[in-house]
Symmetry: C2
Subunit: 476 residues, 2 copies
């Protein structure tokens, strides 16, 4: 039975791309929408997003941010105001020319991101130092028309949050940019059980219109990197383009300093590819839609169904997202299905278990089968979920640490990348080195790390200079 | 001071439309977006929406619904499949012709509602009776290009939820349609403190593509009606157009029976116009972003600031959404601002209060000023918020009941409407009567009530026949 299920999922080691597609479709996380590149997020996938949203939103609010909602349609002229920004996004926007049966006087675009419309409002709302800092976030859909798409990773429409803040000083804006980067890193670690590298992006990889971009990169099981979140320091580029000025305490008009930051439904793709295995999903307990599934075994025997219901009710009452599976299918079929769906804890209730006052359980991260007393199972399950989170994180961290190697020169860099690892390089920040790495290895500088260089010449060009350590990897 | 604030808001009795606009803009619920007919929902307005969302979502989930997310862009051809539906919505859609720098082979529209795309997926997902019922909801933005727009009431883009369900039998689908209507009515009463009339809509007023539409209508302070939510029974109209069939237990292929239902950010407009007064907003406690504001009076005096902070912390700890206002403004200025913003409970902490171990408080619904002991203030405040909810509901209900009159004939109907009341009419369901009422009085049949007719002839045409009682009103 297990084999039959597994047969449906392509081999994770040799066909990782197909494995991913099989998993997201067969576990009913998503389906393809009628327009190429769009996805339908099905209830099981959307419940993960809701859990991410809820826990991120709490962190945003606890750090003084408020939510708001800005219109999705942006006049073309507004998009055009910041030169680099429009150059970066114009090629992928969707344009509305006709609405309400009439040709629009000015076409508008569906937001690919909301800097432009938010800045136009900030220009109206911000007048005095008393109006600062202004720290807003919005949960929204955005559209970026992409050539190559894959569910969660790159879709024409996706869901995300975008924070946009305005500050009186450069230092404050920069601090916000870093604080949110750290918030994302902590969230990935504490909620998604996912270790990440954080650091500044290269000039080439930075956001269109930003002064500096910082990224959070996670290692997927195929050794490729996934950009899981970014924060941007805008300096005064947008405030000058959109005229956002405030009268400071010293009675002088000044332009505000800004940041923006975002994560998206892409995080779901990251979870799948950081934790999955041949059987399917392995979901971190804190975002799993179902944390524990209770399956009656030999449910026709006296007392089994009742006991299973009782146990499920006790787990629910303890705040565990529990599903009781009483469907008319064999236990084996159910075991495999819930394994594929990545439920952290599976609890089997059979007549012999009940006689012994026990249940048999299986944790999804290790697939080991153990037993536990029914008495106090709620507390034990809570502790188990915590332990599953911890051990998933440790496993991910160990995997990552064993897949990061120092590249002292270009030959080593090529070997490391071909061995499906991240390379740590020393880089003199010359864009020519970055271009060469891309050309030779189809790899990119992911983030620069705040670490002392491990040699005194650039891994790529061998020159001395203003050296930094950086992560180079192939990426999604 | 009070006068100065009030001066900024147009007179509620004689200039209700301007009063509404003044209130939504000055309390910073919304601002106008750059494209005509769009609104920016500012943090204070969005927090109300979040409170509505959270409490509705809990009710949806408790009744077996799951959330999902469907693409916003719908191929034109998909919209065209159900004839009445496309006829109803085509005139107001926004059309995307160009995306990613290229002319699209087939134009797509931004969803005005999602029946079409959801039905196309249901056709794929539903195969067996085991797949039923399917009860999904989505929280999303929609675009309907309207000629005349007003914040919250009618905007080109708005936020809403739309439930879409599929069932094996007509009875089940009809039960769902009614259950959700009752859920909306209970929510309006228990959370928004707003009495409503519920009932079936006339043929003319029903949703494009529905077999029957049911509505929830609330009376605004100007005697006009606002449609605050609708539920639709589709029968098999959509399942036949989109080919949604299932193999039933009897091994026969059958079309599913469907419902849909929705409420939107319009509810915020309803709250404003059902509860507001000359001083501004009066927010029902259960959705108020700030339920209690604590204002230190003579804050420079020893111990005042500390005591105010202590009280605010105690209220927050009791689960009350509390704001401590320590801004550098006079207490009078603050009182007026928070009154305008509709905060249910205002607590003043001054040196004399502290001496007496008391605070002075004011409830927004009555504006009476009272005092309460500091000891146990958290419990007292919780009880007060509950009482404010109850008395707001009672006040609304009394207002409504005193503004509904029986219209025995057309002359009475005209007089009732001109007196800014709802009319209860007896109607023989002849569309000609409905058209005449519209023509003569610019009023419409809002809902048909499940009540015995109070006379045996139609209020409009005087004929006997298949008579029903209905609410006739001018409407938003």
């Amino acid at each position: 039975m297990a084999k039959e299920f597994v047969k449906e999922i392509a081999d994770i080691d040799t066909q990782f791309t197909r494995w991913y597609t099989d998993v997201v479709i067969k576990t009913q996380l998503v389906d393809y929408g009628p327009i190429k590149g769009t996805m339908v997020i099905r209830p099981y996938g959307y419940a993960i997003w809701e859990n991410i949203q809820k826990q991120l939103d709490e962190r945003f609010k606890a750090t003084g941010h408020q939510n708001a909602y800005f219109p999705m349609l942006i006049p073309q002229s507004l998009l055009n105001k910041e030169a680099e920004h429009v150059e970066g996004f114009a090629p992928e926007v969707a344009v509305v020319n006709v609405a309400g049966g009439e040709q629009l006087a000015e076409p508008c675009v569906i937001r690919p991101t909301s800097e432009t419309i938010i800045c136009s409002m900030y220009s109206k709302w911000i007048n005095s130092y008393r109006d600062l800092p202004l720290k807003l976030n919005q949960w929204a859909n955005v559209v970026r028309w992409e050539k190559t798409t894959r569910p969660f990773l790159r879709t024409s429409e996706f869901l995300w949050q975008e924070g946009h803040t305005a500050h009186a000083t450069r230092e404050e804006a920069l601090k916000e940019t870093m604080d949110m980067l750290y918030l994302y890193r902590d969230f990935a670690r504490d909620v998604l059980a996912m270790p990440t590298f954080i650091g500044q992006k290269s000039e080439k990889e930075k956001f269109a219109g930003a002064e500096a971009t910082f990224g959070m990169e996670a290692m997927m099981l195929d050794g490729k990197s996934l950009q899981a979140g970014t924060t941007h320091h805008f300096g005064q580029k947008f405030s000058k383009a959109y005229d956002i000025q405030f009268l400071d305490k010293d009675n002088v008009k000044k332009y505000v300093w800004q940041s923006s930051w975002g994560v998206s439904t892409r995080l779901i793709g990251a979870i799948i590819m950081a934790h999955g295995d041949q059987r399917g999903l392995v979901l971190p307990p804190k975002i799993a839609p179902v944390q524990a599934v209770v399956i009656p075994v030999a449910a026709h025997k006296q007392g089994v169904a009742e006991k299973a219901r009782e146990i499920a009710a006790a787990l629910s009452a303890a705040g565990i997202r529990t599903q009781l599976d009483e469907r008319d299918q064999s236990p084996g079929w159910k075991f495999n299905e819930w394994e594929m769906k990545g439920v952290p804890l599976r609890i089997e209730v059979g007549p012999r278990d009940i006689e012994r006052g026990e249940v048999t359980y299986s944790r999804r991260d290790t697939c080991e089968k153990l037993s536990a007393p029914i008495e106090g199972l709620d507390k034990a399950a809570l502790a188990l979920l915590e332990d599953i989170h911890e051990s998933m994180y440790r496993k991910s961290l160990a995997f990552r640490d064993s897949h990061v190697k120092l590249a002292h020169n270009m030959q080593e860099l090529g070997e490391i990348l071909d061995a499906k690892c991240f390379a740590k390089v020393v880089w003199d920040k010359d864009p020519a080195c970055e271009a060469l790495i891309k050309e030779k290895f189809q790899a990119t500088v992911r983030v620069m790390l705040d670490e002392p260089p491990f040699q005194n010449t650039c891994t790529c060009c061998g020159k001395e200079g203003d050296l930094t350590v950086a992560i180079v990897a192939r990426a999604y």
